[in-house]
């Protein structure tokens, strides 16, 4: 649906080769494409306008006009300015001075992910050695308290709540948590629309009574143009110190991040990256800028790989690759580690330009069939594929529910891969082994 900004620029500047000079109007065309990209990414149109006005002068500078690759230059300028904008306010999350406990309070619209984020933050900081407690003051949504209690049970973190007025419940909950020795109290509040005066007054009352260390505005990455209105209203009426940007594990470009930071002037501190309780990460302005411009997330991919791949084993593989001893057993283990990074499609989606290639779908079932075939081999066969003769092939085919042709194809692909590795390893490989896949 969205094409890469770099690809679009190519079109604009390609026609210029042979024509000599880049003119101001070429640059204007390029900036129009930037506008398109930003709007498609859901950056608010007013924010887009002021942002482009700001970068215009720089884009028309000598550096671009005289450059060999003006498209790249402009992209770099835009990218850098976006990073500045998103990261300009950056700071670490704040804690209160002991002995008073740190209090973090969540506010936001319905369905932005406040309750889940409470659980994630509590889990993350419990692991970091703090003693978090959670307070459930969302008495509006049915079973919201129960949801937080369930998360608390899963994380083994105490949850305080009560009945009656949410303001009193919040105050009493925070007091109870403090009494119980919490050094970090995470306060969940009900989702509310910024146009609902009564509920906005209520959350403001909670804030002034509880006096949180940080008040986080929890916002959904899929939000469109309206992000500016709701964020500005929460910032103005309630007062917010930071933003938590949720659901960025989807494919939304997340332009709302730019809008929110721009209108509120507060930093994004964390991003929510999945439904599981460990799905929370610090915010990286550079990655978000690349994402908004549709440039892929190479850094994220490398980090994911580092988390999933056992480094010792990777070193072993590299040794084996060098000596061309890489066999089915190693291949199978590598496949398992790759799977830990998530569905292959989403992993590939993080590569620039890959996400939108039509027809690039990984057939997970084909991958499973391949695994079944490898698992139907004896250890001896996995180590020495050359042993696999006709009758062994038949056995493997039967054992894995495939045809002999499938087994033949796998063996052929694997042989081809080994050959490729041989060539590559002659060129010298550093760091992580490449992850060769026979499809």
């Amino acid at each position: 649906m969205f094409s890469n900004l770099a690809e679009r620029f190519e079109g604009i500047f390609k026609t210029l080769r042979g024509h000599g000079k880049i003119t101001e109007s070429n640059v204007q065309d390029a900036l129009k494409q930037v506008r398109r990209a930003l709007l498609e990414a859901d950056v608010n149109y007013k924010v887009v306008k002021t942002f482009l006005d700001e970068v215009q002068t720089e884009s028309l500078g000598d550096k671009v006009l005289k450059s060999v690759s003006p498209g790249q230059q402009i992209i770099k300028i835009i990218h850098d300015r976006l990073v500045d904008l998103l990261g300009g306010q950056h700071r670490p999350v704040r804690f209160a001075k002991p002995p008073s406990p740190t209090i973090w309070m969540m506010v936001g619209l319905q369905g932005s992910g406040k309750t889940t984020t409470c659980g994630k933050l509590a889990g993350r900081f419990a692991k970091a050695g703090r003693r978090p407690h959670m307070v459930a003051a969302d008495l509006a949504r049915p079973a919201a308290v129960e949801q937080l209690r369930t998360l608390g049970r899963q994380l083994n973190i105490p949850v305080h709540s009560g009945n009656g007025n949410p303001v009193d419940v919040a105050v009493a909950g925070v007091a109870a948590a403090t009494q119980a020795g919490a050094d970090l109290i995470i306060l969940d509040t009900a989702g509310r629309l910024h146009v609902d005066d009564d509920l906005m007054a209520q959350v403001t009352a909670i804030k002034s009574r509880v006096a949180p260390t940080e008040t986080f505005f929890v916002a959904d990455a899929m939000t469109g143009q309206d992000a500016v209105t709701s964020a500005a209203a929460f910032a103005e009426r309630v007062g917010i110190d930071g933003v938590i940007f949720t659901k960025i594990d989807g494919d939304a470009r997340g332009g709302a991040a730019v809008s929110i930071v721009r209108v509120t002037g507060v930093p994004i501190l964390f991003v929510g990256t999945g439904e599981k309780l460990d799905g929370i990460e610090p915010f990286h302005p550079d990655r978000m800028a690349s994402r908004i411009l549709g440039m892929g997330d190479v850094v994220g991919l490398v980090e994911k790989a580092q988390e999933a791949v056992d480094l010792n084993q990777a070193a072993q593989w590299e040794q084996k690759l060098r000596k061309s001893q890489f066999d089915f057993q190693d291949f199978y283990e590598q496949l398992q580690q790759l799977k830990k990074m998530g569905p292959l499609e989403s992993v590939l989606g993080m590569l620039p330009g890959m996400s939108k290639i039509k027809g690039l779908t990984i057939d997970e079932r084909a991958q499973k069939r391949m695994e079944a075939m490898i698992l139907s081999m004896t250890v001896e066969e996995r180590r020495h594929p050359e042993l696999i003769n006709g009758s062994r092939r038949l056995r493997i085919a039967k054992g894995s529910g495939n045809s002999v042709q499938d087994v033949n194809r796998l063996l052929k692909q694997f042989a081809g891969m080994q050959k490729m590795i041989k060539t590559m390893s002659k060129g010298g490989m550093k760091g992580l082994p490449k992850m060769p896949m026979p499809f």
Partner: protein, 307 residues
Amino acid sequence: MRSFFNRLKEGLTKTQKALAGQIKEVLGLAPAIDDALFEQIETALIGADCGLSVAEELIERLKKRCAKEKTAESSAVLGFIKDEMKTILTEGRGAETSAAPATPMVMIFVGVNGVGKTTSIGKIGCHYTQAGQRVIFAAADTFRAAAGEQLEIWAERANAQLVGSTAGGDPAAVAFDAVQAAKSRGIPHVLIDTAGRLHSKSNLMAELAKIRRTVDKALGPAGGTVEVLLVMDATTGQNGLAQAAEFTKVAGVNGIVLTKLDGTAKGGIVLAIAHQLKIPVRWVGIGEGIDDLETFDPDEFVQALFD
């Protein structure tokens, strides 16, 4: 009871002020029909989350119409926009049958996380029970903490029967049980709650496809109607299109429930979806109360937007 029109109008007050006000202001300030006027209208449409391509298409249509009808009055342009928006929304209605759908009517509610699936089920269920029809809710969101409890509370409020589940259970099995129960008890409406899932997660989408297949199977040769409703938050931006496309691919979406339209969000993505995917909006959520959800009427929607 207030009429739908009034309620929608109330719910859309902010929307009106924002979008219609903006367009009206544009038209009021700019007496001549020129490019600057069209550009301002385009900006207003983009600001309403209609998306660039729909905004551009609308402007194209407007320009043609202005040229054809030789309009010199900018005030007439407002009428044209309304017409064109209605056309897009009605194009997306699809073929509607006048015959009553076969029962049981199974509605599967799908969507990304936090859009209001469970709440919509509560409200739509209430709509049927208030009309004297019996309803079963199926708690097939076995993933999110306390989702089952949330639906249980809604079942009590709406006076609906409930097929519950255990956390971490098989959602397709819950859906199957609910359809079986409806068949044996002769209940005409089954509303299935599913876990929120991002459309980009293939494993979760496969799970949804299984729920759909299971429902088809459970209905069996005796038949019934299956309606897959995509619940979407009015604040959703351009990602809404990708959501609609993916959920349609996996589960065959028949209609959209547009929620949280009582804020300042304009829900313009509905136009883009109707335009590109021809999926109609069926229901709109315009408030927090149990009866603040109504069937969608494109005429009234556009009317309420501009009046």
